[in-house]
């Protein structure tokens, strides 16, 4: 009698049980969720631009040019030049770096710490959970922007302080989402079984529950990324954000754009479009990811 290991399966069966390759998954995703794919493409384009900013730029973003101030978009300056003659396109390209770095760092940081807190709080339950919830309530009691503003003023203007200022309000929101996910997983059969067998709590938490929160976590992070980018832009606009010399889309809009807007409307249009595109892309992607990875969260 042939041993199971040597059974030859027909090709069709093999195809059915084979794990799909990356390209197949991607292809499926693009077909099923065209909007999400578009969002992913936008984010990819922005990320690539940000990483290769030094290659993508056409001029030095801080080089001034007295003769060419407030120039309209032209062959020389693709998106025009600002009131100091600096190339708007190159500044937007470098601004992408900052927006992405700050946006990613704060949403990852906030989601990560919030996730850990939510995981432990949800798993341990009881008094710890109750107290943690109240503490998180305190942090969440304030609108994101207001808390970020106060934190930014409290910490002072520097790029890491802005990241901290934006990630702190994200922590309670992340904790909430992960916690509710944990609460539902905790009651599942296999977890009870593991506990019955005597597996240590920490092991259960990290080996069984954590992997199942990855889906909601990714969704959460992409959702927060959009917010983080917006809050960074708003903080910069109000003067509480990323300081000079780092280029920032929000600051490009506050510092001179509005004043020269009638002579040079491109100063107002392009940075704003950049911000909107980045947030739009991350929202589209986040939505599609959520629909794919965690259908329970649909509509949340």
């Amino acid at each position: 009698m042939a041993s199971p290991a040597t059974v030859e399966l027909p090709a069709a069966t093999r195809a059915l049980i084979a794990r799909p390759g990356v390209l197949t998954v991607l292809g499926r995703f693009i077909r099923k969720k065209p909007l999400g794919a578009a969002g992913g493409f936008i984010m990819l384009a922005i990320t690539v631009t940000a990483i290769f900013a030094n290659l993508a730029e056409t001029h030095d973003p801080i080089a001034t040019d007295a003769a060419g101030t407030l120039g309209a978009p032209s062959a020389e300056h693709w998106l025009g030049s600002d009131h100091l003659g600096r190339d708007v396109y190159s500044r937007i390209v470098h601004g992408a770096r900052i927006s992405l770095i700050v946006g990613l760092a704060s949403s990852v940081l906030g989601s990560f710490f919030g996730g850990i807190i939510g995981l432990l709080s949800g798993y341990i339950g009881g008094k710890t959970d109750l107290i943690t919830q109240r503490v998180l309530d305190i942090l969440q009691g304030l609108p994101l922007l207001v808390l970020a503003m106060v934190m930014s003023a409290a910490l002072g203007a520097s790029i890491h302080n802005v990241v901290i200022a934006i990630s702190v309000p994200i922590i309670p929101r992340a904790a909430r989402v992960i916690r509710s996910s944990v609460l539902s997983i905790r009651e599942m059969q296999y977890v009870e079984a593991a506990r019955a067998v005597g597996v240590r709590h920490l092991r259960i938490a990290f080996r069984h529950i954590l992997p199942n929160t990855v889906g909601p976590f990714i969704v959460l992070m992409t959702a927060q990324l959009g917010s983080a980018i917006l809050v960074e832009a708003t903080l910069s606009f109000l003067g509480l954000g990323v300081p000079e010399p780092y280029p920032s889309w929000g600051r490009m809009l506050s510092v001179s754009a509005a004043e020269y807007a009638q002579k040079a409307p491109h100063l107002v249009i392009f940075p704003g479009v950049a911000i909107s595109l980045a947030v739009f892309g991350s929202n589209l992607l986040g939505d599609a990811l959520r629909d794919t990875l965690d259908p329970r969260l649909r509509g949340a």
């Binding site: 001034t64 002072g156 003067g239 000079e244 506050s254 509005a258």
Partner: protein, 537 residues
């Protein structure tokens, strides 16, 4: 051939008459009484109307309508000088004892806005308080211009309408300082803290309402001591923090007048295009762009390095790059025709940074090489800048210039709340700075910004020799001799370079044509009482 008809001839004559009439300038229109105007304010009052406790045009200018000075610069004359000083609360004045005593004879018909009579007691109270004299009847929380009156020994009020300023040594400049918009007279019967929340003055307008963060509203003072003035029924300063909204409000007519110093060249061009009838008065602000360097710490304790910085920065380039042409060349004092003490064209041309850019930069590189700084071993410094657009623009340009001679400066943003503390502590290497002069006077400038130990001498520059030069010019009574001394001092300051001056800013003061009688001055602090201003419609 047709003969021209009578109608055609008449029409021709009529056209000719109209043509001639339109060429004749409108002969002095008669001011009309009534109406109100809205004026732009870019931020709310810093400390209410407490002009003596602040050093910012954001407080002093919107407070001007409420107050009167002893003497003031003639509102109708653009350039401030000793010759344009007119009396407000003082009817007559005279220097005695070779410019050591200044006697004022005060008006007898002046009332405070609360009805109480104005007397010499108010003057003595105000200036004793400002100079922090032991005999002062009240104390200011902070007095930024204490040093203006450092030379005053004693203020006497021998009778209700006479005041005498007794000085330690002759100082003709005292009069110019008293004429500044920064020198209003407070009421002796009002505690100075009250000026932070309201205003009791003797000026042409009474404070009606100050809605915090929104507007400051004045109404005509019916008991104003100049009969028939003011013409306007009221004025309102409207606070708009957003730059774009501010300009849009002026353009759409919701604001009638801009704020002094707010209309740059590009803004002017934009406004002009949108509103061809808008009136612009190009004036100097008496605010200069400059670079401060910490003379007590390396690398800028080395005068050669400082001088190199002075050479490296192309002044004309800055004016084009950072101001789009809306600034003029000038050293520490405002040049003619904007001011009276400035250096002449030929003198300026010889100063570091005013010649041909390539030559200047070559000179800078040579100086730096002597200090061991070359393109291979560049000097790395941090340039401290306040997070405000006009500072940042200047700094961006300067950093580019310095890069070309081997100085690599990185921008370090300092929050407003910490700027002065940082600068006064000497916690910086090099910084981008703006300096405004409350009055076009060498004493005010030199003692505030370059004197040993002065809190605003951020470079901590101290030269005994130059201090003696300050003293000498301060006591010089001959105007011509004094001007020559002041020019020499400016040359010396550019050579020692504790604070190289980059440019003197211009303002294209904008207002709608129906606002008449408004004359901008070459100094943002010294005009805006609005007592002679009227509305044409």
């Amino acid at each position: 051939m047709r003969r021209p008809t009578l109608v055609a001839v008449a029409a021709g004559v009529a056209l000719a008459v109209v043509g001639v009439l339109s060429l004749t300038p409108a002969i002095g229109q008669t001011p009309k009484s009534g109406g109100t105007i809205n004026i732009m304010a870019r931020e709310d009052l810093a400390q209410g109307f407490a002009t003596h406790e602040t050093s910012t045009v954001a407080t002093s200018t919107p407070s001007l309508p409420c107050f009167s000075n002893l003497v003031f610069f003639d509102p109708s004359k653009k350039t401030d000088s000793m010759d344009t000083i007119v009396g407000e609360l003082a009817e007559k004045w005279s220097w005695q004892d070779n410019y050591k005593n200044l006697v004022f004879f005060l008006r007898k018909d002046v009332k405070w806005h609360d009805g109480k009579p104005f007397t010499s007691k108010d003057v003595k109270h105000t200036f004793d308080m400002v100079r922090d004299s032991p005999e002062a009847t009240a104390k200011l929380r902070i007095s930024p211009r204490k040093d203006w009156y450092a030379n005053v020994e004693h203020i006497e009020a021998p009778d209700p309408y006479t005041v005498v300023f007794r000085l330690k040594r002759p100082q003709p400049s005292l009069l110019l300082m008293l004429a500044s918009g920064y020198s209003p007279v407070y009421a002796a019967h009002v505690p100075p803290a009250a000026y932070r929340t309201g205003c009791i003055g003797t000026g042409p307008f009474k404070l009606k309402e100050w809605r915090k963060g929104e507007f400051i509203e004045y109404v005509k003072n019916p008991d104003f001591y100049v009969k028939g003035r003011p013409y306007l029924d009221g004025i309102r300063y409207v606070v708009i923090v957003e730059r774009g909204t501010r300009t849009a409000a002026l353009q759409s007519g919701q604001l009638d007048v801009a704020f002094p110093g707010e209309t740059g060249r590009t803004a002017m061009e934009q406004l002009k295009k949108a509103v061809p009838t808008m009136v612009f008065q190009p004036v100097a602000q008496n605010v200069s762009d400059n670079i401060i360097m910490n003379t007590k710490k390396p690398p800028f304790d080395n005068p050669k390095v400082r001088l190199a910085v002075g050479y490296a920065i192309d002044r004309r380039g800055l004016i084009q790059a950072a101001h789009q042409g809306g600034a003029v060349l000038g050293a520490a004092m405002l040049p003619k025709p904007y001011g009276v003490w400035g250096m002449l064209e030929k003198d300026l041309a010889a100063m570091p940074g005013y010649g041909k850019a390539e030559d200047m930069k070559a000179q800078a590189k040579k100086l730096l090489a002597e200090a061991g700084i070359t393109a291979q071993s560049p000097l790395k410094v941090e340039m401290s800048v306040r997070a405000i657009a006009i500072y940042l623009d200047m700094a961006s340009f300067v950093i580019n210039e310095l890069k070309q001679v081997g100085i690599e400066a990185t921008l370090k943003q300092i929050e407003t709340a910490q700027w002065h503390a940082t600068a006064t502590r000497g916690d910086y290497q090099i910084g981008a700075n703006l300096t405004g002069l409350g009055t076009d006077d060498p004493d005010a400038n030199f003692y505030e910004n370059y004197a040993c130990g002065s809190p605003r001498n951020y470079s901590q520059y101290c030269s005994e020799e130059v201090m003696k030069m300050f003293e000498r010019q301060s006591q010089e009574l001959d105007a011509k001799k004094r001007t020559a001394m002041v020019i020499d001092i400016q040359k010396r300051l550019e050579q020692d370079a504790p604070r190289p001056i980059l440019a003197q800013r211009l303002d294209y003061y904008a207002h709608w044509p129906h606002v008449k009688g408004l004359v901008a001055h070459n100094n943002i602090y010294n005009f805006s009482r609005f007592q002679d201003v009227w509305r044409d419609k």
